[in-house]
Every structure is written in structure tokens, then in C-alpha cells.
């Protein structure tokens, strides 16, 4: 009996060992990543924000671009949903009724009064403004490139309120709902980062790949150019490029142009890393073997060199993502990036330097912590992935 009891764990262990030895690289990376608690938490936060970005229309209770949405609520403070107060407990969260009055001297500052006994209850999956679940709209300068795809009309929203309107994050000076704006801003900021990273990645792959593969003079000259681009401070360079976007361009065209220049300026760091990887890898025997079989350089790069460090490239992409988001925020913040109907986190922060805002309407700052959390989780995930992708990490 004792024998079998002993044998059982060893058998399980052997199985575990076998699973380890036969695991694909991605399984190994995932196993290592899972052990990193902070990266895992950051990853789930990131997923949460990505989901919000994808289903922005559903999550946002009101249209973010519609000014004067709630006529009686200008620069209104956030309305906090509660479960209980002095008047008792309620399973369904509620907000108070807010009444806004001009003060006696007819100043522009509004007095907001909370009616504590007038509860308004939150409702979920309510009907609201119409939207399309899939809505792709591209409007580039020129007629031929316009493209519109809208299917699946819907009007359900995650939440609403039984009477009037609810403004979780308050409203701004145009009576727009700040919560809805933030939700859409997350989408724009994330997608601008994604496009920027993609363009930077393609450029980096072409330039870094060529330099690393051919080596010698090609490499030296490419490195010189890369270094020259890298040494120019990026944000002033971005600004110089963004400042001269013609004013008559549509906000969508602006959006694409801004993400394009983010990519055009952002490639050198990535290119350098790709070049280093390829340079180290190209003198390996299996590359020589492929050479001798008569494979073309593009084939060798694509089929042999790139797969050898895909995981590193993914890590690099995740790490360079926050830089793109940051640059866009910086650009939009000073008014050179995106403009008003398109919301991004930088656009939302445009007006906050006003003393009036700082003294009276501090909820304009709500996008800031959200932005920091998003970038932070990107950095944590990137770092966790980097550790996980490195087979030589020592586990203590």
C-alpha cells in the first residue's frame, strides 16, 4: 500500500515535469506571467479598460459630444450613487436630486442644492440614445478613401436613472456628461496608441530588420540615422509636425494624422532592439543552413528570424504603448493634437489650468487618475511580460 501512495505523487510530478518539457513557448511564458501577482492585477485592470473602450457606446449613458444635454445642469458636480443614507437602506443604488440655481447676484457661478429626500434610483440596461454596435467611420482627406460601416443598431445602455439624468462624474461647461466623455476618451486614447504602435512597429521591423540582417555598412549607416532621429526631443518634434495640420481637416482625419506621426517618430527605439536581436541571431547555424538551401533574405527574416523572438517583440510593443498614449495626451493637452468633438484624455484635460476650474470644479481632474491607472497597468503588464518572456529569469 505504502508503495502506491508514494508512487502517486511521483507520477503526478512526472506528469507535471512532462507538461513542462513539452510546453510550447507561450505556455511557458503564461505560466511564468501568472506567478507575477502585480502584473496579473494590472492585466485585469487593463482588460477592464479595454472592454470599456470596445463597448463605449453601451457603457456611456449619454452622447459624449452633445452639448447642453442636461439643460439644468451646468458645471454640475459629480453625483455619487449610494446604497444607504439617513433615510434608510436600499438595495438599488440611488442618487439625490440636484437643483441648480443662479445665485442672487446673478453671477455665473451656480449654486447646486442637493435634495436629500428626493431619491432617484439607478436602473440597468435601460433604453437611451441610438448607436450601432459596429460603427467604423473613416473620413480621410479626399473622397475615395471614405469608408463607413454601421451595423447592429442598438439603444440599450448599461445604466440610467428613473427620473432625469445621472452624471456620475458631473458635467462640464457645455453641460456635457463627463462620465460619457471619459469613456469615449479611453477608447480614443487606446486606439491612437494602438495605431501608433502598429506603424512604429512596421517601420522598426523594416529598418531594424534590414540593418540587423545585412550588418556591416548598411547597419552602420542605419544606426547613424536611427541615432540622429532618437536624439531629437520627441515631443517638440511631434508638436512641430502636428502644428501644421490644416485647420479645415475633419477631426477623424486629424486623429489618423496624429497617430501616424506618433508612429513615424516612435520607431527608433523599437528598430534598435529588433536590430540587436537579429544581429545576435543571424550568425546561428540554422540560418546558415537556410542560406545554403538557397533561401532569400526576406524568407529567412520572415520564417526563421522573426519567430525566434516574437515574444520579445510583443513585450516591446506593450512597453512602447504607454509612450504613445502619453505623447498623444501631451499633444492634445496643449491643443496641438485632437480637437473637441473627438475626446481623448488629453482633450479632457485641456481646460483644467483655469483658476476657476481649480477652485470650483475640481471634477474636471477626474480623467487624470484614470489616465495614470491605464498607463501604470500597461507598464506593469509590460514589465511582467518581459520577465516572463526571458527564459533565463531566476526564480527565487
Amino acid at each position: 500500500m505504502a508503495m502506491t501512495e508514494d508512487a502517486l505523487p511521483t507520477a503526478r510530478e512526472a506528469k507535471k515535469k512532462e507538461a513542462y518539457f513539452t510546453a510550447s513557448q507561450y505556455q511557458l511564458v503564461w505560466a511564468r506571467f501568472r506567478k507575477n501577482r502585480s502584473a496579473l492585477i494590472a492585466g485585469s485592470i487593463l482588460m477592464f479598460f479595454i472592454l470599456i473602450a470596445v463597448f463605449a457606446e453601451f457603457v456611456a449613458p449619454y452622447e459624449p459630444t452633445k452639448a447642453g444635454f442636461d439643460r439644468s445642469y451646468l458645471n454640475g458636480p459629480p453625483q455619487l450613487p449610494l446604497f444607504w443614507d439617513d433615510n434608510g437602506f436600499s438595495l438599488r443604488p440611488f442618487v439625490y436630486t440636484y437643483k441648480q440655481k443662479r445665485d442672487e447676484n446673478f453671477h455665473l457661478i451656480f449654486d447646486v442644492k442637493k435634495e436629500l429626500d428626493q431619491r432617484r434610483y439607478l436602473e440597468f440596461f435601460v433604453e437611451g440614445w441610438e448607436y450601432h454596435l459596429i460603427n467604423t467611420y473613416v473620413d480621410l482627406p479626399g473622397e475615395g478613401l471614405d469608408f463607413r460601416l454601421t451595423v447592429l443598431p442598438m439603444n440599450r445602455h448599461l445604466f440610467g436613472v428613473d427620473k432625469g439624468k445621472v452624471h456620475l462624474f458631473g458635467t462640464d461647461r457645455q453641460k456635457k456628461d463627463l462620465f460619457s466623455r471619459v469613456v469615449f476618451a479611453i477608447r480614443i486614447s487606446l486606439s491612437i496608441g494602438a495605431i501608433g504602435v502598429f506603424i512604429a512597429f512596421v517601420l522598426a521591423l523594416a529598418i531594424g530588420g534590414t540593418a540587423g540582417y545585412y550588418g556591416g555598412w548598411t547597419d552602420r549607416i542605419t544606426q547613424m540615422i536611427t541615432d540622429a532621429v532618437r536624439v531629437v526631443p520627441t515631443i517638440p518634434l511631434f508638436m512641430a509636425m502636428a502644428a501644421f495640420v490644416p485647420a479645415e481637416w475633419s477631426s477623424e482625419a486629424r486623429f489618423f494624422f496624429i497617430s501616424m506621426i506618433l508612429g513615424l517618430v516612435g520607431w527608433p527605439t523599437l528598430a534598435r532592439r529588433i536590430r540587436t536581436h537579429i544581429l545576435a541571431e543571424r550568425s546561428q547555424d540554422y540560418i546558415l543552413a537556410s542560406h545554403l538551401c538557397g533561401a532569400r533574405p526576406s524568407h529567412i527574416i520572415r520564417r526563421h528570424l522573426l519567430p525566434s523572438f516574437t515574444s520579445y517583440i510583443i513585450v516591446d510593443l506593450v512597453i512602447s504603448f504607454p509612450y504613445m498614449v502619453l505623447s498623444e495626451t501631451a499633444l492634445s493637452f496643449v491643443g496641438l493634437g485632437l480637437k473637441d468633438p473627438v475626446n481623448s484624455l488629453g482633450v479632457l484635460l485641456q481646460n483644467v489650468t483655469d483658476v476657476d476650474v481649480m477652485l470650483n470644479y475640481q471634477w474636471y481632474f477626474i480623467p487624470l487618475p484614470i489616465f495614470v491607472v491605464i498607463v501604470m497597468s500597461f507598464v506593469f503588464v509590460g514589465d511582467g511580460l518581459r520577465d516572463a518572456a526571458d527564459p533565463y529569469t531566476v526564480h527565487k
Partner: protein
């Protein structure tokens, strides 16, 4: 001295090549901008004084500005003027040189940025070294968090938060570089003092990201070095405490830091124009932003970007030389 001189000469040549290429990038960018300087000037003048724009006006202005010369000629003369004579070109909108628009502002900016660099290293090196001697995971975790925060919370957001708190709690905005009395006064000791009283704050904000990131780097470098065998050997010979610490690991660990100075200056320049608008600093970063966002003055913008890049290239060259002096392996080309 032979290898040292050769090293310096090679690095100097490389720096020149980099500058040459940077000037091409910046000048090429200015050329790509829709509408040239002459059109901008004539358009601006007509908004000021009225009158209609004719093609002949623009032609005449182009000739006066020398815009009818081929691209290569203009680029080379632009670069030559910048590097050899210090003439930064002429503003598009006002018929004055960029030098006159910038005046001492570029020096004020450089002063703030280098102060920011200095403050960043002044905080990061001692703190990072100190924390590397304390081995516990709480310290590790919080330092890692701070360094991530340095990335996630760029300087202009820090400036915003500090302004918000300042306005709400103290009713003071902490903005500007000079107090009322000194703003337009000529430079004097008193003005310099006033400047320093105000400038530490923007300098700290600008250096914040570098501080946070270097803190982590210093700690990592030191922790790696402390574990090496030669440190154990030194301890076995009876060395201990500060003597051991500064004589052995510190000297080796801090070498690579010299390399990153150029990158940190780059990082600081990145924040400069935006922090300048938030904190209402009247220096070159602000002029750059104004040239771009308000007046679309490509000559001013190009000149400022080029000057910032020159500062980085010069600093990179200097740090290479310093590193070569410190580390014989580098000047002999071993590493």
C-alpha cells in the same frame, strides 16, 4: 595619451555627423510644412494692415528671404549660419531675427533644464545607493512603484496636480519665473536670486521623471555590484562600512549612469514646452509652443528644436569623454 585623443576625435566626428543629420531632419520638416515663410509673412501683414495679397508680393518676399534658392543651398546655409555664426535665421512673421525673439530665453531654458538634470541626479544617486544597502522587499516594491509612476505620471501631470493642490489649499499658484518687480529688470545679482527662488520648482517638476527612473536604476546597478565576489573579498580583507562601499562597488556601478545623462536631458526637454505653459514660464519652451500653436512660425520652431538637440548632442559627447576618462576599457575600445 594616444588612444584617448583618438577616442575624442572619433567621438567628435560622430557628434558632428549626428548634428548634420539632425539639421537635415529639422530643416526638411520645416520645408514639408504647407505654405512657406513668404506666404505666411504676406498673409500676416495683410491681416495687420489690410490690403490684398498678390502673387507678386509673395514672389518679392520669397526673393528677399532667399526662398528661391534650391533646397540644398538653403539647408546648408541655414546649418552653417547656426553652427558657425550663431545666427538662427529670421522669424517668418516679424522681420526680426530669431536671436532677437529668443534673447536670453534660451539660456534661461537651458539653465532650468540643466538644473532639473542636476536635481534629478542629486536626489536619485544618494537615495538609490542608500536603498540598495537596505535589502527588503517592501523597499524594492515601493521603489519599483515610484519608477513606474515616473513613467505614468509625466511632468506636466505632476505640475497640474501640484497646481491644483496649491490653489485649493494655499491659494497660491506657484507659477512664473520671476516676481513682479524683476520681470523686466535687467540681469543683476538680485534678479538672479529672485530667479533661483522661483526656478527650483519648475526644475524639480521637469526632473521628476528622470529622478523616479534613475532611482530604480541606481538601486539595481548597486545591488548587482554589491553581490560580486570582489566586494566579498574586500570584506574578507577587513574593509567595512562606507570605506568598502565607496571604494569598490560605488565606483563601478555608477559608470553606466554617465551614459544615460543625454537621455535624461532629452526627457526633460520633452516636458519643457508643456510644463512651461502650465507654470506660465516665459522661456524658450513657451516661445516654441507659441511659434507652433499660435503663429505657425516655422523658422522659430525649427531653430529652437535644433538648439535643444545641439544641447543633447554636446552633452552626449561630453559624457562619452568623461566615461572614457573614468573607464580605460572604453577609450581603448575593448567594450
Amino acid at each position: 595619451m594616444g588612444p584617448m585623443l583618438r577616442f575624442i576625435a572619433v567621438r567628435f566626428g560622430l557628434a558632428l555627423v549626428t548634428l548634420f543629420m539632425v539639421s537635415f531632419i529639422v530643416f526638411g520638416l520645416m520645408e514639408l510644412v504647407p505654405g512657406n515663410c513668404a506666404q505666411r509673412y504676406v498673409a500676416y501683414k495683410s491681416t495687420q494692415g489690410g490690403g490684398t495679397i498678390t502673387q507678386a508680393d509673395i514672389r518679392a518676399e520669397e526673393e528677399r528671404m532667399g526662398l528661391d534658392r534650391p533646397f540644398m543651398v538653403r539647408w546648408l546655409s541655414w546649418t552653417y549660419n547656426m553652427v558657425a555664426t550663431g545666427y538662427l535665421g529670421e522669424s517668418c512673421l516679424k522681420r526680426v531675427s530669431v536671436n532677437q525673439i529668443l534673447k536670453d530665453k534660451i539660456w534661461i531654458s537651458m539653465g532650468i533644464c540643466f538644473a532639473a538634470l542636476f536635481i534629478a541626479y542629486l536626489i536619485a544617486i544618494p537615495l538609490g545607493m542608500l536603498s540598495s544597502t537596505m535589502r527588503n522587499s517592501a523597499m524594492d516594491g515601493s521603489l519599483r512603484f515610484i519608477s513606474y509612476l515616473g513613467l505614468a505620471l509625466p511632468d506636466f501631470l505632476v505640475a497640474l496636480i501640484v497646481m491644483l493642490i496649491g490653489t485649493m489649499v494655499f491659494g497660491e499658484t506657484l507659477t512664473g519665473l520671476f516676481s513682479e518687480a524683476y520681470r523686466d529688470a535687467p540681469w543683476s545679482i538680485a534678479k538672479l536670486g529672485d530667479f533661483l527662488r522661483h526656478a527650483w520648482f519648475p526644475a524639480f517638476i521637469l526632473g521628476w521623471s528622470s529622478t523616479a527612473l534613475q532611482l530604480q536604476t541606481v538601486r539595481a546597478l548597486m545591488s548587482d555590484e554589491i553581490e560580486k565576489l570582489y566586494v566579498t573579498a574586500a570584506r574578507a580583507r577587513g574593509l567595512s562600512g562606507a570605506k568598502l562601499f565607496f571604494r569598490y562597488p560605488a565606483r563601478h556601478a555608477l559608470g553606466p549612469l554617465v551614459n544615460s545623462i543625454g537621455f535624461d536631458l532629452n526627457r526633460i526637454f520633452n516636458g519643457l514646452p508643456i510644463v512651461a505653459t502650465i507654470l506660465v514660464l516665459s522661456e524658450a519652451g513657451f516661445v516654441l509652443l507659441e511659434a507652433l500653436a499660435i503663429s505657425n512660425d516655422q523658422e522659430v520652431a525649427g531653430a529652437i528644436i535644433f538648439l535643444l538637440t545641439v544641447a543633447i548632442v554636446v552633452l552626449n559627447f561630453a559624457s562619452d569623454v568623461v566615461l572614457a576618462i573614468l573607464d580605460p576599457r572604453i577609450r581603448l575600445g575593448v567594450v
